[in-house]
Every structure is written in structure tokens, then in C-alpha cells.
């Protein structure tokens, strides 16, 4: 049993944390949020140059990491800084699906930062169910509608799921493909997504099935939990600082017992969240992977809500303003609950897997 980061991961963490601290402050990030594209191409290139994208892939695929803890380390730091660039969807999910399909040449471009991807799986009424796909395919032409597809506008290729006979298969669809319609919109917590419709749109079969998608989804769950953890760390740190800076009756408000005790409860729950991410990353390869992942996502969802709400409440009015760092961080935390299954979805899955 060992709870220390390896030297490589420690370096990765230090590098990324330092870079984001210097280059991704509130002002810069708020500029990116207000931009048309919703993300910064410069930041993306620099993340690639720093090897952050490569850390998400195994050596076999040209990366130098790819394990659960590599993913957790990267996304915790991205979450800490409230990064809105679509590392999770474009690089991790998209890239790992291409890696699973053996498209090593394309993966190289992802790691290098020059290829952008989107994963179009969910549909308007699928909610969080992974096996609910109504998009059809016939003769490698896809028809259907995909919901809230992250990074669809910027993607060079979309990875699209469709029902091929009785089973679900994944296809690579080019940006300019015929019959592809992308209606983009901004997201509350930053970045952009789109409603994607396909009308007899040609796609190249990737040879991947629902099981492959589920494998990528496991990685996404680790990443999403870790990102939320990082954001919670920032929310907690901001709150701690605020409580010790802001004064009433001549004393920092954090020295008043009610707020002090609530702050202690946040710190206790933050340790729980940290352990949940460790469990997610550490058990994601084992036989009980889904049980652990659902446990972690449920816990992160519950604690995330608590942390976001308490951090705002203990700040008071200032946290209600868009320009304050916590406003964005709190939105990242709460909106994480709407990705890859929410608190209740994973509670139910945990119950089902426990009974099995």
C-alpha cells in the first residue's frame, strides 16, 4: 500500500500547477469565457507542449502515462484552475477511443495538440443512459440527433455512436461531412457544446462497440471526479482566505464559531472527496471498477453541492458576482454533476452493483 505520487506524477503535477497559476488567472480565464470559441487555442498548444495531453495516453500510443492516477493528477490541476478547455472530451475521451481503435497516427496528432475531437453519444432523451442510442446507420451513413455534444464546433472529427442492427458501434465523422448540422451554444460553466444532427452523413466505422465506449466512459468518470475535486480545493481555499480576511466587529469572520465549524466540516468532506478520487483512480482497472466509480461519482456529487453552496454562502454577496473567481469555480463543481451520470444515477448503479 502506498499513497505517494510517483516522481513522474509529482513532476507532472508541479509543472501543470505552476503553468496554470501563472497563465490561467481569473482575468485570462474570464476573457476565454467571453470569447466566441469558448476556449483558447494558445492554452491548448501549451498544454500539449507541456506534455499534459501526452500524460493521458499509454506509451504504446505515443504517450507517457494513461493510468488512472495520471488522469487524476492532470484533471485535479485543471479543476483547481477552473480550466474550460475541452481536455476531457477532446483529448481524453476522443483520443482514447481512437487509441482503442488503433488509430495511432491520429492519436499522435491529439497528443501534439493539432487534432480536435468531439464525442457524440448522448441523445435528447437518453439522459445518462449509455445504451440508449436511436441514431441509425445504414451503409456507413448515419442519421439521428446527438445532444449537448461538447466541443462539436471546434472538432476536426466527431466520434458518433449509432445502432447498427442490434448493437451500438462507433464511427468517425469528418467536420465537413455531408448532412452534418451543428447548432452550437455556450455552456453555463464555460466552453461550448452543440446539438448535432446527422442526415445520411457518411462515417468511417472505428470497429468499436458499446463496451469500448464504456471503457472510455470509465476514464471520463475518473477525470470528472478529479476535476471536481480540484475545483473544490479552490473553493475551500478561497473561502478560508475570505473568512480570515473579511472582518466584522473587528475580528475575521472565520474566528466566529458557527462559520469556523462549518469550514471544518468542509475540510473533512474535502478529505472524503480526495479519498473518493483515489479510489476511482486506483480501482478503475479492477473487477469492481464500476462499483468504485459509481461510489466516487455519487460522493463527489453530494460533497460538490455542499462545498459549492457553503462556499458561496460563507462568502455572501461577493460570491454572487460573475467576475469573482468562486462564481466560476462553483459552477464547474455543480455542473460536473450533469456529466457521465449524476449523484442519483450513480447511487442507483451502486445499489444495483452491490446487490449483484
Amino acid at each position: 500500500m502506498d499513497f505517494n505520487l510517483t516522481e513522474e506524477r509529482q513532476m507532472l503535477q508541479d509543472t501543470l500547477r505552476r503553468y496554470l497559476r501563472e497563465q490561467y488567472g481569473t482575468a485570462r480565464r474570464n476573457e476565454i469565457l467571453a470569447s466566441d470559441t469558448g476556449f483558447s487555442a494558445d492554452i491548448w498548444t501549451e498544454l500539449a507542449d507541456l506534455g499534459i495531453l501526452g500524460a493521458l495516453f499509454a506509451e504504446d500510443h505515443g504517450g507517457f502515462g494513461g493510468a488512472g492516477f495520471d488522469i487524476a493528477v492532470v484533471f485535479e490541476e485543471l479543476g483547481r484552475a477552473g480550466v474550460v478547455e475541452p481536455v476531457l472530451d477532446s483529448a481524453l475521451m476522443g483520443g482514447r477511443l481512437l487509441a482503442a481503435a488503433g488509430k495511432t497516427d491520429l492519436v499522435e496528432l491529439v497528443i501534439g495538440g493539432s487534432l480536435h475531437l468531439a464525442v457524440a453519444h448522448g441523445e435528447p432523451d437518453s439522459r445518462y443512459d449509455l445504451d440508449h442510442v436511436n441514431t441509425t446507420v445504414s451503409d456507413n451513413k448515419l442519421t439521428g440527433r446527438k445532444a449537448v455534444v461538447m466541443n462539436a464546433e471546434a472538432a476536426d472529427h466527431l466520434i458518433v455512436s449509432a445502432k447498427n442492427g442490434g448493437s451500438i458501434a462507433l464511427y468517425l465523422v469528418d467536420k465537413g461531412a455531408q448532412g452534418l448540422d451543428i447548432q452550437g451554444y455556450p455552456l453555463l460553466a464555460g466552453g461550448r457544446a452543440a446539438e448535432v444532427t446527422l442526415d445520411n452523413t457518411p462515417g468511417a466505422p472505428l470497429g468499436l462497440t458499446l463496451a469500448d465506449y464504456e471503457a472510455a466512459n470509465r476514464l471520463a468518470l475518473i477525470a470528472q471526479c478529479a476535476e471536481a475535486l480540484g475545483a473544490m480545493e479552490t473553493a475551500t481555499a478561497l473561502t478560508k482566505d475570505y473568512l480570515m480576511t473579511r472582518k466584522q466587529f473587528g475580528r475575521p469572520i472565520g474566528t466566529f464559531q458557527a462559520l469556523a465549524h462549518r469550514m471544518s466540516d468542509l475540510l473533512i468532506e474535502l478529505e472524503q472527496a480526495r479519498s473518493a478520487v483515489i479510489n476511482a483512480a486506483g480501482y478503475a482497472d479492477g473487477k469492481d471498477a464500476d462499483l468504485h466509480l459509481s461510489a466516487s461519482k455519487n460522493l463527489i456529487g453530494r460533497i460538490g453541492r455542499l462545498v459549492a453552496e457553503e462556499a458561496i454562502q460563507m462568502h455572501g454577496g461577493i460570491a454572487m458576482t460573475q467576475e469573482y473567481e468562486l462564481a466560476h469555480i462553483a459552477k464547474r463543481i455543480v455542473m460536473a454533476d450533469h456529466r457521465f451520470g449524476d449523484t442519483d444515477y450513480h447511487l442507483e448503479r451502486f445499489i444495483a452493483l452491490s446487490a449483484a
Binding site: 435528447p124 451554444y185 455556450p186 453555463l188 442519483d344
Partner: protein
């Protein structure tokens, strides 16, 4: 003990229902249903309709052309209005300034300002909070110095709701800096077109422009705009706070919100069945509904005490805390119910047709609303302030 309405109350309920069914513009109701921001024109239209019916100034005495409703009548209206998706009545002139002028204003002030509130000539906003003062009004810094027939006002107010629409602001200003904090404060009416008044928007975390900063630089205010006596403003402010403290539980809003949650959850799919049939989601809905049913009765009990002449003090604080928790929980349920479609930034989306989000659940900006309504436990005396009041009163042997 009798929990049912009297025949008169039932008749009144029917009257309100008929009025709302006939007079509430459907485009406005639809915006309220979807929690979309109303325009200034929307609000003015609705005020005019209510005023026509004599129902705008519900708590004003008949002597001032008010409806002079009983507490139960107001409760009935609130419930029916929320149920029909009527907008809330903008409170600054009607619920806040009006009662203060009626109690402490001069005959001239009453004759001049009160009719203008009713007919919409003036749109009032409130100048109480200041940066760094939190909920502590007594520490305010905006100064008014007498100069002949005028006061010269300098300072800054913040969290001024709908200040961007207002042409008038009622302010607490410090007129005597040498006395104890709560003394030396005056209640002043300021025309916002006066040179030196500047309104700066504050964008809230959900992207909405709802509150503002208001800056005063050498603003000249005629002395006849002083309400009551100089340095007695604290008394009037306290009166206003008490007056403001009815309906704090927001029962009607919560009931309407819960209806929305159920509508969404009936439409939303969860593993091939309506989400409302999922036991975990159903349990969350049921628990907040049970809490709300109890709070609705608490609300009625307090209203009935108020009708009997008892001042709602402690109970108003209790209602505000519990009411905010319940409303926020309902906002949270709405966000959950919508699923992935809670993520789009909907307020911006409604502006450009190109950016329109094809939300299959027709839910409106539920996540934005979730964040926006964190304000319920912060503004107007945070829940921490309220808990402090409750503890102080009861621990000293009050209740």
C-alpha cells in the same frame, strides 16, 4: 382551529382566479413559467393591469387608494398568482417606500409620491446596502451634508435590485457623523437623473443583470426630499424592515416551482421510465413537498397572528430561513431533473435565434436559476443573521 377558508375567503379566491385567468397576459405568464427575465415593459404592463383593478397596492389603506386586503386575502392572492405564473409585484415603491411615507411622510410627500407609485410615473429602487457593510446597516458611510436648501450626497450603494430601471431611489444616508452608529442616519428620496448619480451594473454568477452599484458624487438633493426628521432614518428603516417581512417564506414561489419540477420529471426519461417514477428522485420531491406543506401552515399561522395584531418578528426570521432552504432545494431538484440539458447557458441563448437551445424538456434556465437563487439565503439579511436573531430573542427568554 380550522384550516379551511371561510365562504368570504372562498369567494375572494374565485374572484382572484377569474381575474388572473382573464387579465394576465399570456406572454408574460410564459416568461415567468420559464424563469426568463422580464423586461421593464412587462413589469409595467402588469402593474397597470393590477392598478386598473385596484389590486396593485394590496396592503395600502383605502385612504391612500390601496386595496387594504387582510393577511389571508394577501395569502390567497400570492398563492393564486404564483400558481398562474403571474409576475411578483415589484416591491420597492409599493411594499417598502409606500408604507414609510404613509407613516412618516409629510402630507405634501404623500400627495406627491404615492399616486406616482400607483400610476407608474416613478420606478423606485432601494439604497440601503453599502460595500463592505454586509447586512449591518448601522455602519453605512454614504454622507449627506446640508448646504442651504439642499443636501450634498457622496458615497456608494450596492446590490441595488433593478436600479437600471429606476428613476428614483430611497436612501439611508449619514447626516451626523459624530454620534453612535445607528443614530445620525436620515431617510432621503433622490432623483436618479440628478447630476452625479451613476448606476453601474453588477452581473450575477448566472450572467443576469439584476443588481447594481449606485454611486453618488456631490449629488444635490432638495431638503423637502427628507422623509420625517433628520437623523431619525434608522427608525423608519426598522419600520420598513418589519413591514417587508411578510411573505418571506415564498410559499407561492415554492409551490409553483414544485409544480414545474414535477412537470419536468414527468417528461424526463430515466432508464426508459418517467423520472418522476424513480424512487430516489421521487423521495427528494416528496420530502421537500412535505416540508413545504408544513411551512405553508406555519406561514398561515403567522399571517393569522399578524392579522390579530401581533408583529411578526422571530417567526419572520424563521420563515425566511426555512423558506429559502425549501426554494433552493426545489431549484436543485429542477436542475437535477433536466439532466445534461441543464448545462447550456440559457439566458444568452434566448437572445440570438441562432443560439437557441432545443431543450426537449422546455425547462428554461433551471441551472442559472439554481445559482441565482443562492441569493435567497444571502440578501435581505443572510440566514446567518436570521439565525443570530432567532437565538438572541429565544435565548434571552423571549419565546
Amino acid at each position: 382551529m380550522d384550516l379551511s377558508y371561510s365562504p368570504d375567503e372562498l369567494a375572494f379566491q374565485a374572484e382572484v382566479r377569474a381575474f388572473l385567468a382573464g387579465e394576465l397576459p399570456q406572454d408574460i405568464a410564459e416568461k415567468v413559467r420559464l424563469d426568463t427575465d422580464l423586461t421593464k415593459d412587462d413589469m409595467e404592463r402588469w402593474h397597470a393591469i393590477l392598478n386598473n383593478r385596484g389590486w396593485l397596492a394590496q396592503n395600502w389603506p383605502k385612504a391612500f387608494c390601496g386595496a387594504e386586503w387582510s393577511a389571508v386575502q394577501r395569502h390567497i392572492y400570492d398563492t393564486e398568482a404564483a400558481d398562474a405564473n403571474a409576475p411578483r409585484i415589484v416591491p420597492f415603491g409599493l411594499s417598502m417606500l409606500g408604507p414609510v411615507l404613509q407613516k412618516f411622510g409629510s402630507k405634501e410627500q404623500q400627495d406627491h409620491w404615492l399616486p406616482r407609485i400607483l400610476d407608474g410615473t416613478d420606478w423606485w429602487c432601494q439604497g440601503y446596502s453599502e460595500p463592505g457593510a454586509g447586512s449591518d446597516l448601522a455602519s453605512l458611510k454614504t454622507k449627506a451634508v446640508r448646504d442651504g436648501d439642499h443636501y450634498i450626497v457622496n458615497g456608494q450603494k450596492t446590490w441595488t435590485t433593478l436600479g437600471q430601471f429606476a428613476n428614483m431611489i430611497f436612501c439611508l444616508v449619514r447626516t451626523d457623523p459624530d454620534v453612535k452608529q445607528q443614530e445620525g442616519i436620515s431617510f432621503l428620496l433622490i432623483d436618479m437623473d440628478t447630476p452625479g448619480v451613476e448606476v453601474r451594473p453588477i452581473i450575477l454568477l448566472d450572467g443576469c443583470h439584476e443588481v447594481n452599484e449606485v454611486w453618488f458624487t456631490d449629488v444635490r438633493v432638495p431638503v423637502e426630499n427628507l422623509v420625517g426628521e433628520e437623523n431619525k432614518g434608522w427608525t423608519y428603516a426598522k419600520y420598513l424592515l418589519t413591514h417587508e417581512r411578510t411573505g418571506l417564506g415564498g410559499v407561492g414561489f415554492s409551490q409553483a416551482g414544485l409544480k414545474t419540477v414535477k412537470r419536468i420529471a414527468r417528461a424526463a426519461n430515466h432508464n426508459g421510465k418517467p423520472l418522476i417514477e424513480n424512487p430516489h428522485f421521487a423521495a427528494r420531491v416528496a420530502q421537500v413537498e412535505i416540508d413545504l406543506r408544513a411551512m405553508a401552515t406555519t406561514n398561515l399561522r403567522i399571517i393569522s397572528q399578524a392579522a390579530a395584531g401581533e408583529a411578526p418578528g422571530l417567526e419572520a426570521s424563521m420563515l425566511k430561513v426555512k423558506g429559502s432552504i425549501i426554494r433552493q432545494e426545489i431549484n436543485d431538484l429542477a436542475r437535477r431533473a433536466v439532466g445534461p440539458y441543464a448545462m447550456p447557458f440559457a439566458s444568452e441563448a434566448v437572445e440570438g435565434a441562432n443560439d437557441r437551445i432545443p431543450d426537449p424538456l422546455d425547462a428554461g434556465p433551471v441551472a442559472g436559476q439554481y445559482f441565482n437563487n443562492r441569493k435567497l439565503s444571502i440578501f435581505g439579511g443572510s440566514n446567518e443573521i436570521q439565525r443570530g436573531i432567532i437565538a438572541k430573542v429565544t435565548m434571552s427568554g423571549g419565546a
